[in-house]
């Protein structure tokens, strides 16, 4: 595993100038991803997870956007490429699938024609060869009767089939990295399970790397090898998937884990929501963005931005200034489902 990573993002910052002020959507995130592995990016709306994905493909550029940092894909910095060069990367190097499969397919064109267009944009092949490939792809993503369905319009497909068609299109040029932005959020659970299984199988078949962007910790647990948790435009915790779920180190991650009712958990027990709401990305205060909602917050949290520091094995990092042993005690108390004041007492944090 000493090979250089496929994707190496370093201190990526994206901000938008708006009439209301500067929106710091992504505020200095770094991660790397090796060939064949899956990174899960989790966060709530407005945490910057989607913007960080779009930026890799040059889809956030405009006069009002400021982007800095590096995103090395196979050694080339994606952020330094011009539009011409980006077109080559899109589809062939990195492909993306989006949340809403209905609005990402053109309603006037047949599904097959849209896939053929994607193939011929990158490969010099005849129309008939591209069509044959489109049929093959539709079959590969599990669309029944692909030869008959290739000439269907998007509205003739169900939600799950549309997402399969989107995946077929994304895979048409054998990308080395697939970014899936909330790929199953618009789908029913039984279809979601089918799509997640499909992505898993295709990844194994094609050996590509994947970034799954989602708000659903369940989806992350089922797909990702490594996880980055985002809050207020920053990565606040990063670890191997198992390590993150076994030994979460950031109070926000705890909050996420215990505010979701679990299907295998007891019923009727009270949920412990995170108080307050996610911060506005305009004019974030200087300290830790999560401090106003955090049980363990103290004065130190309000000064200076916490850096990602080692918090466990396998390069597990968390951005929290509260001491490791204090956090360990607090996490224990959290798991016993104590209330906030008991957690504070357990951790020895004074009010």
């Amino acid at each position: 595993m000493s090979t250089s990573p496929l994707l190496d993002v370093r201190d990526l910052k994206v901000s938008f100038r708006t009439d209301d002020g500067l929106v710091e959507a992504v505020d200095g995130i770094s991660y790397s991803l090796e060939q064949g592995r899956t990174l899960g990016i989790v966060g709530e709306s407005g945490s910057g997870k989607t913007v960080s994905g779009l930026t890799l493909l040059g889809l956030t550029g405009s006069r009002r956007t400021e982007i800095s940092g590096e995103a090395l894909f196979d050694g080339t910095d994606l952020l330094a490429l011009d539009e011409q060069q980006l077109r080559k990367v899109r589809g062939q190097g990195i492909a993306m699938i989006f949340q809403d499969p209905l609005s990402s397919l053109h309603p006037f064109y047949r599904v097959g024609a849209q896939i053929i267009e994607a193939i011929r944009a990158h490969q010099k092949v005849s129309k008939s060869a591209a069509r044959a490939r489109a049929i093959e792809l539709l079959g590969m993503v599990g669309i029944p009767d692909p030869a008959g369905r290739v000439d269907a319009f998007p509205h003739e497909f169900s939600g799950g089939m549309r997402q399969r068609a989107m995946i077929a299109m994304a895979l048409s040029n054998e990308p080395r990295l697939l970014i899936a932005d909330e790929p199953t959020t618009a789908l029913d659970v039984t279809v979601q399970a089918q799509i997640l299984e499909l992505l898993d199988r295709l990844q194994q078949q094609l050996g590509m790397a994947m970034i799954i962007i989602t708000h659903d910790l369940g989806v992350v647990a089922e797909t990702a090898d490594q996880v980055a948790v985002m809050y207020g435009g920053r990565i606040i915790e990063q670890a191997e998937s198992r390590e993150l779920f076994d030994n979460p180190q950031h109070p926000y991650t705890w909050g996420l884990l215990r505010s979701v009712p679990r299907i295998d958990g007891g019923s009727g027990e009270r949920l412990r929501p995170i108080p307050g709401r996610p911060p506005s990305l305009i004019g974030l205060p200087e300290g830790c963005a999560f401090a106003p909602r955090c049980v363990l917050a103290n004065d130190a949290c309000l000064h200076g931005r916490p850096r990602l520091e080692s918090a466990g094995p396998d390069s597990h990092t968390a951005a929290c200034v509260v001491g490791l042993d204090q956090r360990a005690k607090a996490w224990q108390a959290t798991q016993q489902d104590l209330d906030d004041s008991a957690i504070k007492t357990a951790a020895g944090v004074s009010k």
Binding site: E44, S45, G142, P144, S158, G159, G160, M161, D188, V189, T190, V191, Q192, A193, Q194, L196, E197, L198, D200, R201, H215, D216, L217, G218, V219, V220, A221, E222, T223, A224, S241, R242, F245, G255, L256, L257, S259, V260, P261, R262, I263, D264, G265, S267, G268, E269, R270, L271, R272, P273, I274, P275, R277, P278
Partner: protein, 338 residues
């Protein structure tokens, strides 16, 4: 057992499909709800779950009489809501209120929060004396965790979670006995979701509300509900106490639905699961007899010929299946991806 607050009997809603502009003729019907029966006891929370198009929202709208039922009875406290008209219906509606899914489109953007919550009093001509309505509205805002001083603000000044609280306050305004919550948290972020779920639980405890809770998220339903009805293509396929349903699903569809829910536990990753193939068929031309049979791993010829009725099984849950799963039995695993 006490008398049920709400009893729905054989409720049917078919939306006609027509062709032609001048001479409209019916060429079929979307059988959105097709013979649904259940009852809800006072103080109970009944969950309705199912995938898109299973008829759960239509059922909710029929009970609130936002839609006209094609046939069937909706007995609320003994009186049939489905047969009511005019002022009788208007009065009955005070007892049945709804919370909607989308807190953005269910609040009038041009009205202040105060006047939105006050509207039920205007409609029903209640609390006429000066200042009484305002006091009550501020009381309601306080009750759902909003700052009463924000009385004169507009919906766009509130976050999604706060807007949903406004929707809850509006639903509570007339002291209803039954609340129908149609996907009340699915548009919200997870950390906010938990706040609203806790609010609903608290209100139910304090006010003795009866709730019909509709959601597609099975974990949320398990958390909130005493009993759960699972719907598939317009019919209830299983109705059981929540604990029982989740521990021991008997209808193959329920089992498959439960197996499909992702669990935040990486240990389970890649474990073989009973996945359903295909999609939900169209409600305009549903499969014959048992509507689940084309996707069901246990289906036989009988399932396409004889409609299974919702019948009580040994442990008291109601199941509509010829071949229900026995306790602890797992649904046969399908080959990974066809």
């Amino acid at each position: 057992m006490t008398a049920p607050l709400l009893e729905v009997r054989d409720l049917v809603k078919h939306f006609p499909i027509t062709r032609g502009v001048v001479f409209k003729r019916g060429i079929g019907a979307v059988q959105a709800v097709d013979g649904v029966s259940f009852s809800v006891a006072p103080g109970e929370t009944l969950g309705l779950v199912g995938e898109t198009g299973c008829g759960k929202s239509t059922t909710a709208r029929l009970i609130a009489r936002l839609l006209e039922p094609t046939s069937g009875e909706i007995l609320f406290d003994g009186a049939d809501l489905a047969a009511m008209r005019g002022s009788q219906l208007k009065n009955a509606r005070r007892d049945v209120q709804m919370i909607f899914q989308d807190p953005y489109s269910s609040l009038n953007p041009r009205k202040t929060v105060g006047s939105i919550i006050e509207q039920p009093f205007q409609i029903h001509g209640l609390l006429g004396e000066t200042g009484a309505r305002r006091r009550r509205v501020q009381e309601l805002m306080e009750q759902v965790g909003l700052n009463p001083e924000h009385y004169n603000r507009y919906p766009h000044e509130f976050s999604g979670g706060q807007r949903q609280r406004i929707g809850v306050a509006r639903a509570l305004a007339l002291n209803p006995r039954l609340i129908i919550a149609d996907e009340p948290v699915s548009a919200l972020d997870v950390s906010i979701q938990a706040q609203i779920l806790n609010l609903l639980s608290d209100l139910q405890r304090d006010l003795g509300l009866t709730i019909i809770f509709i959601a597609h998220d099975l974990s949320v339903v398990r958390h909130m509900c005493d009993r759960v009805a699972v719907m598939y293509l317009g019919r209830i396929v299983e109705l059981a106490p929540a604990e029982q349903l989740y521990a021991n699903p008997q209808h193959p569809y329920t089992a498959a639905l439960l197996a499909a829910v992702p669990v935040p536990d990486p240990e389970r990753r890649g474990a073989p699961r009973a996945l359903l193939g295909g999609d939900v068929p169209s409600a305009a031309s549903p499969p014959s007899a048992c509507r689940f049979h084309p996707r069901c791993p246990r289906a036989t010829a009988k399932c396409s010929e004889v409609t299974p009725q919702l019948e009580a099984s040994d442990d008291g849950s109601l199941v509509a299946c010829h071949y229900p799963l026995v306790r602890g039995e797992a649904l046969a695993e399908r080959q990974r991806d066809a």
